[in-house]
């Protein structure tokens, strides 16, 4: 009986979300009613109170506002542009080198920001004008930026990895480590994609031949001046994390403070701008953490209904098999990615999928990396690819339609699916650093 309630609750949740009720509210309502039906409303009320008060009371969650603040601070301080300038000069001799420069600049920028949207808005303003000036088509230029922005969530620090770690009860530090290999893999696959397109589909990449002169490499002093802020931030955050000096929360605090120092040194921060950044940080934090509160309630309700265990037994004993389950799950994530935002997908699906993955004896770190990559394709797929809309609104170019950007980003969706296949075949890309 309770298993059915669990099933109906999931169906009801999907309907409510599609109707446009805020996702957190939908989860709370469905879970409340579910618990009230399985037990009674006194229990439901008590659980609601507990969840509201205690599910966020973890030192770890402080990592969310801190890394968000850090990401927003480096965004205003122009560190992204410097990174791009450096890579532009490094890659200038390569075919479609600007595209590849964008990918690697994003990969580096990703290691100091945890949100893909930050990368997308920075590089839309920095890389796209430069690429179009050099004859690249707009669809391709924006597609490259959209595609490489997903690295922001894969290369640590990453908001999605934090959310996954919380749900799967894995260590955030390990999840961060697990993102490094796949992030680099994806950057390489993206570069190969760009090289191939530049060779075989020139009309897709270029509108006209590149007549602009490529800037000369910077002198040593200039290179140093541009590289020092970002390198020191990366060292501070990732070095502290991997060296074991800092736990993730502390790395967030130190990183945010470091980013603040850089922004102040560059005079890119007025009190007004800083306050607005803090307000924005607060709103992102609330929308993420409120979802986590709701998801905690949802997963407790589901566990109470016994549905996840039942599902694990049925799915794995049946004809589906372990690999079959994995592929169906990832396909579901990618399809949902077309409709719902990344964090919500994870919060809805993981309480159901994690017990199954555990029963199948999957390495949960590896499973998490696969989930994050699959979820991130949703940033690039129509009709609701968030990265694409971010780029569109960052550029404010009437000639550029959303459809153009989706078309430009499509090769990168395929590249991500290829990356998923490689990660499924070679799990150690994700796990070697994390399990070392």
């Amino acid at each position: 009986m309770s298993v059915e309630i669990g099933g109906i609750a999931i169906a009801a949740l999907v309907v409510l979300i599609f109707l446009g009720l805020p996702i957190g509210i939908s989860m709370m309502v469905v879970s409340f009613v579910g618990v009230a039906l399985i037990r009674n409303d006194t229990v439901a009320m008590r659980m609601l109170g507990q969840v509201a008060n205690d599910s966020l009371r973890e030192y770890l969650f402080a990592v969310v506002p801190l890394f968000v603040l850090m990401g927003l601070l480096v965004t205003v301080s122009g560190v992204g542009k410097d990174t791009f300038d450096l890579f532009e000069r490094l890659m200038r001799r390569l075919r479609a080198g600007l595209g590849i420069a964008t990918v690697f600049a994003n990969a580096v920028f990703a290691s100091i920001t945890g949100i893909s949207i930050a990368s997308a808005s920075v590089f839309a303003r920095v890389a796209v004008p430069e690429m179009t000036r050099h004859g690249y088509g707009k669809a391709f230029s924006t597609g490259v930026v959209a595609g490489s922005s997903v690295l922001g969530m894969l290369i640590p620090p990453s908001l999605l990895m934090i959310v996954y770690a919380v749900l799967a009860e894995e260590s955030v530090g390990r999840m961060f480590l697990a993102g490094v290999g796949p992030g680099l893999l994806l950057a390489v696959i993206f570069s190969v994609t760009i090289l191939l397109l530049g060779t075989f589909r020139r009309s897709f990449v270029f509108d006209r031949p590149d007549e602009e002169t490529v800037p000369d490499p910077f002198g040593a002093l200039q290179t140093l001046r541009l590289a020092v802020p970002i390198v020191s931030l990366v060292l501070l955050v990732l070095g502290g994390l991997y060296g074991g000096f800092l736990n993730p929360t502390e790395a967030g605090a130190v990183g945010a403070l470091g980013a603040l120092a850089i922004a102040l040194l560059r005079r890119s921060l007025t009190p007004r701008v800083f306050w607005n950044l803090l307000v924005e940080t607060g709103q992102i934090t609330v929308s993420v953490l409120f979802l986590i509160v709701a998801a905690t309630f949802f997963s407790r309700m589901l566990a109470m209904s016994g549905l996840p265990n039942w599902l694990a037994e049925t799915l794995l004993d049946g004809s589906l098999g372990h690999l079959g389950f994995l592929i169906v799950y990832l396909a579901l994530v990618i399809v949902l990615g077309c409709l719902i935002d990344s964090i919500s997908i994870m919060l809805i699906l993981l309480p159901i999928a994690l017990p199954v993955a555990e029963a199948a004896h999957f390495d949960l770190i590896w499973f998490g990396v696969l989930t994050v990559v699959a979820v991130e394709t949703g940033l690039l797929t129509p009709p609701f690819g968030l990265s694409v809309y971010t780029i569109k609104s960052a550029l404010q170019d009437d000639e550029l339609t959303v459809g153009n950007i989706f078309r430009g980003a499509f090769p990168f969706v395929l590249a991500m699916i290829a990356a998923l296949a490689i990660l499924i075949a070679v799990p150690s890309i994700a796990t070697w650093l994390a399990r070392a």
């Binding site: 446009g20 805020p22 008060n53 969650f61 967030g252 130190v254 803090l278 924005e280 953490l289 919500s344």
Partner: protein, 192 residues
């Protein structure tokens, strides 16, 4: 990062200038949010000074992890009201947005229903928190180590309760506004 409109009145209200009561209410919601915003900085400084203390002096500061955890919970609930007011809770737009575009009045009524549901569930969260506050007060719940440094939990809890109550009332207010035909259908407001 378009959301710099913390001081903007709640929605482009068609019903003329907001009343004094409404202005006072908005100030309250914004004040709570501002407190939460300041706490983000405090959180950053507490944790960073803990790191410095540990690496320079060799000893952790007391209470940091418990205080950090409680501060975070407060940050979330203090800012919940303003997040609701600026329609920043994650939701899907494709059906609701299309409805609001095609039939604005109907969209507004559906939005009113959604806000009412939100008021109900957040109100229930607040209601359930009252008992937790009472329990904290009765049992003198504290964080820290007895004899070294202790901080009672109830002041934090009261602020959480206040934040939840304000959030529920904000939902309720938006329901009333939408029913009276004021305020835009929420889906058409800016989303970042």
């Amino acid at each position: 990062m378009s959301s710099t409109q913390t001081t903007a009145p709640s929605g482009p209200s068609a019903g003329g200038a907001p009343s004094a009561v409404r202005r006072a209410w908005n100030t309250l919601v914004d004040g709570f949010a501002a407190l939460g915003t300041v706490l983000i900085c405090v959180l950053m400084l507490i944790i960073a000074s803990d790191v410095v203390a540990r690496n320079l002096v060799g000893g952790s500061l007391p209470l940091v992890s418990e205080l950090g955890a409680l501060t975070l919970v407060m940050i979330v609930y203090l800012q919940l009201g303003t997040t609701i007011r600026h329609d920043r809770l994650a939701r899907t737009e494709f059906l609701f947005g299309a409805l609001c575009a095609a039939r604005p009045r109907l969209g507004q009524l559906v939005g009113a229903l959604y806000d009412l549901i939100g008021a109900g569930i957040v109100g229930a969260m607040a209601w359930a928190t009252i008992h937790i506050v009472e329990k904290d007060l009765a049992s003198h719940e504290f964080i820290g180590v007895t004899g070294v440094l202790t901080v009672p939990v109830w002041p934090f809890r009261v602020l959480i309760l206040a934040g939840l109550t304000i959030a529920a009332l904000q939902f309720l207010l938006q329901t009333v506004d939408a029913l009276r035909g004021r305020g835009a259908a929420t889906a058409s407001k800016d989303k970042t």
